[in-house]
Symmetry: C2
Subunit: 316 residues, 2 copies
């Protein structure tokens, strides 16, 4: 049996998992990142945890073909270098690939974390029957990836698939990136909550005013109970995501646009609204061509995707 390791490097936790050629997750584990201890310490501990996990599951290091690591951008993927990751202070211009590879004693491939999750969808998730998918993850920000003609897009600065920063409303809300009107400025979990908060603070009557902290979960809960403000906020989120899907359709012609991240917990209540606006706004002759779906891979997708990216590299 060939085994591939997947590492999902986050600011808080590092997830470690092993998959086989069928993308089956054989075992998994997680350790605290503690980035303040520095890259050498972090990757030493990740390698130790990886080896403990493998051995606990009856695997030798020789059984591991290759390891993949997904990490937050910006990074120089082909050189294996993290550039200036906001959630990993102390990792600026860090040659993560080579450090981890020397600790692990195995070849390591690195990939952007959203791209890795996109690739997991392509190999074994909602995209596995298709050569053409777009992936949109709805968390604090809106990230993503694109597979076109079976090829995971990277582009000039390896930042293709920055779908959250496609501009939906020119001169619209200010986004964290400095642009105005980005999809992320409306439809991330944080900005869905933020937009509701702004209306509540401006005095709009809403059951959301009873909340100490307005989260996107609160917005969806109250919208489902019929609160008018919450409903209008959810509608705008869904409309923006539909317009984003249409723009991705016209740019890269995916067969399916797959949404993931915390906010898809809202389920069909959200998905049906995105589909409604997609049908309303899309090119009539292309209606029905692109399908919209929610991921079912959950929080393991980054780890599985990183291993799957490494597997592709190994088999190529």
């Amino acid at each position: 049996m060939r085994v591939y390791s997947g590492i999902d490097l986050g600011g808080t936790n590092v997830k470690v998992g092993l998959i086989d050629d069928n993308f089956r997750l054989l075992c998994k584990s997680s350790i605290e990142t503690m980035p303040e201890k520095g890259p050498e310490d972090v990757f030493e501990r990740v390698a130790e945890e990886h080896n403990r996990l493998a051995s606990e599951n009856g695997l030798q290091l020789d059984d591991i073909c290759i390891a993949g690591m997904g990490l937050p951008g910006p990074a120089n993927l082909s050189e294996g270098i993290l550039i200036n990751p906001p959630n990993l202070p102390g990792f600026e211009n860090c040659p993560v690939r080579d450090i981890f590879s020397s600790k692990l004693g195995r070849e390591v491939v690195i990939e952007n974390d959203a791209n890795a999750a996109c690739w997991a969808e392509y190999e074994c998730g909602k995209g596995e029957q298709s050569e053409d998918i777009a992936f949109v993850t709805l968390g604090t920000g809106v990230g993503g990836g694109i597979v076109c003609d079976g090829h995971l897009l990277h582009g000039f600065r390896e930042s293709a698939g920055e779908v959250g920063h496609i501009i939906i409303y020119p001169d619209g809300r200010l986004c964290g990136c400095g642009q105005r009107g980005c999809a992320e400025a409306y439809a991330s979990a944080s900005n869905t909550a933020e937009r509701a908060k702004e209306f509540v603070q401006a005095g709009v009557t809403s059951s959301l005013s009873a909340y100490d902290q307005i989260t996107s979960e609160a917005v969806f809960t109250e919208a489902q109970k019929g609160d008018r403000l919450a409903l209008s906020i959810v509608d705008e989120t869904a409309k923006v995501l539909a317009l984003l899907a249409i723009n991705l359709q016209n740019a890269a012609n995916p067969e399916r646009v797959i949404f993931a991240g915390g906010m898809i917990q809202a389920g069909d209540f959200l998905l049906d609204k995105i589909k409604f606006y997609f049908d309303k706004y899309c090119w009539p002759s292309r209606k029905g061509e692109t399908d919209l779906a929610f991921s079912t891979l959950g929080t393991e997708s980054g780890m599985i995707g990183a291993a799957a990216v490494a597997r592709r590299h190994f088999l190529a």
Copy 2:
């Protein structure tokens, strides 16, 4: 010397050219399409013209490695079938690749005409130093293509790179495709003229009111003379093209966005305005990453690109 044929099939004319391995156009010709005579007749005449051109230039049919044909969509490229081209009545569901191949006695590869022109830019135009370009052609409509990581994007229904139908203003101007607010609804040559005409007809004072027919050329001419309406129309066209370029940057991360088509005759007067809005609206940390340029290949790009696409197929 290896020679590749390129055919650019349009509703009015069919262009025929031969290129070598350096993408040098060895000779070219053009005949009237006369689509009303039907596909068999059209491709018989194209093959005859092709053979006459080759022989006139001292080439035998055996010298031609392969032929490429660019055609207006929608088409099933992998099957070689035109579906329902608006400008080629009588060619519905026509197996153009096989008909032309049997007339020519050579393997034929077909490609969407805007994709072919994009590939010409990649191989021997403004994109030849890059693996990552986006191409936007400004004519009656706004078409285009995307090369990412050296790969010409096709997608699920082979309609990736439909950049003119990326939505810039949700709920904006009605586009010919049926969507609202598409880039094409503002920034095509026709819609640049049309927007000016609407203001003139509404009584806005402008030197354009002296024109019998307001064309995009007239709009650019009067804008350069300082006419306020014409200037505001050109500004809006430039802003829409800049926003389109930003959205392409975030989707596919091109190193360069290349504009082509009749409207680029306006030269730096237009290009500088697009660059101004690009810098104004783009992600600050990605400023300067993507370059904007006007094509220099002219009307031969479709023919050269079709031959270049066939060459890639032949060498693969």
